[in-house]
Subunit: 301 residues, 2 copies
Amino acid sequence: MSFDLGGYLAERRRLVDQALARFLPPEDAYPPTIHEAMRYSVFAGGKRLRPILVIAGAEAGGGLAQDVLPAACAMELIHTYSLIHDDLPAMDDDDDRRGRPTSHKVFGEAMAILAGDALLTLAFRLLAENFAESQRQAVAPARLRQILAEIAEAAGTFGMIGGQVVDIQSEGKSVSAETLEYIHTHKTAALIRVSLRSGAILTGAPEKVLEAISQAGAHLGLAFQIVDDILDVEGSLEQLGKTAGSDRRKKKVTYPEHFGLEVSRSRAKSLVEEAKSALAPLGSAATPIMALADFILERKS
Amino acid sequence: MSFDLGGYLAERRRLVDQALARFLPPEDAYPPTIHEAMRYSVFAGGKRLRPILVIAGAEAGGGLAQDVLPAACAMELIHTYSLIHDDLPAMDDDDDRRGRPTSHKVFGEAMAILAGDALLTLAFRLLAENFAESQRQAVAPARLRQILAEIAEAAGTFGMIGGQVVDIQSEGKSVSAETLEYIHTHKTAALIRVSLRSGAILTGAPEKVLEAISQAGAHLGLAFQIVDDILDVEGSLEQLGKTAGSDRRKKKVTYPEHFGLEVSRSRAKSLVEEAKSALAPLGSAATPIMALADFILERKS
């Protein structure tokens, strides 16, 4: 049976976008500037990969997208806050993202810092509200505690922030393969893994399912970042060398630079295969995650 | 019966400091720089007012400090993150705080931004962990949801961040009394009010107690900020006008500037009286909060 990945993604993206529009304060809510800034970055054309992974995790655990929309949106808000802060002049100093001026170019640095802070804060509020909305309140609170602790860990100094710290401190330096792996698994993979896990935990998936999903999530997260690095290099090659890739300009340590393009492609491919092997015992419940694994490997942007 | 406020504060400050030392990752945990930066700002000699208010709220609800230490520490982490980000060059551009160089002067802007992000993230992790540690797990999860939602609201764009946004946008402008009140109640009072409430909610205080504490918290929060403004002006007067107050240098809108010192002092005093009236029906359970009210009014730093 073939799985319509395009249709699956489009439908879930629509659900996530509707929920984000509902959960984010309106642009004219006082004080308006901060709410404009939050919406500007959240509605900048993202793939919504993390929220869709939350939903796919929920589906693998026998739940529905509707049960986990606030948690799914929380992951997108955490991702968006990290992009706004990463783009700041003191960090990666990026003027553009996805073809639009970055938050601090539009709203100024102070407002960009505060918009990031506000999105992170709102993310945790949504996690609490997931349970006010859920129809499964009787069992929900203990799960809230678990995903809250896991998401805060994955987003913190032993996860995403830790990866960003080492990434910044490694710029322009020659780093070991271990350091490169640390950056990738922490900066990107931790949040992707916990997205899948959160959806599964919220819908009460049994331990066996959770373990399979966690393994798959870690592999997919690392594959996602390696593909990101590859796309950055290929993008610059397509432009006939006129501009080097943005990672290279910023002297970021990347997988292709360390191991070459061929080894990087093969590593991404084998990580996706490992993820699929981990998911195989779950049968058709894991079909969406399997399809997302292919999407992560084959995406062109 | 006289209440030994000095002893009360010293004992609770010691409990909070011990708990903070335990909850914050060690300085040498990888990656060390971010953990050094987090500890540098948290252990910079704060009064620990917010965590002590959480404890006092718990005591008013019939609980113990030990039941709420993670939540108490979470409030201090949120407060500290807000100071680190407020001090950044793009915001208030402060080089010193409490006589020590600010985070970005010591660790650089990128690390200061990330240290603030990390403290906010860890705060929400501690809130989740409050319940792993608490001996009252059976009733705790529903309260977790409530304080999580309330703290995220008080720290977000309808609370502290909203106040900071309007404060920044009002610099150097003449603002109305309403705007000044908005800034003070949101930037400072919201977090102080929710600190008291969180302690009371966590220990299962009945609605009557919660209402009294919420009223008192709102009054005390506003009084605290007015006293802050007054101390800033008086500090500059003591220096015989050689340096103007830092608020004035930064063209911040303040209570004394808008209403004069005398009206400001009298407003702070009557707010503290109102707080005490709200607390009166609670009897001796509210004695610590009453004493903290006097402390807020009479403090010299």
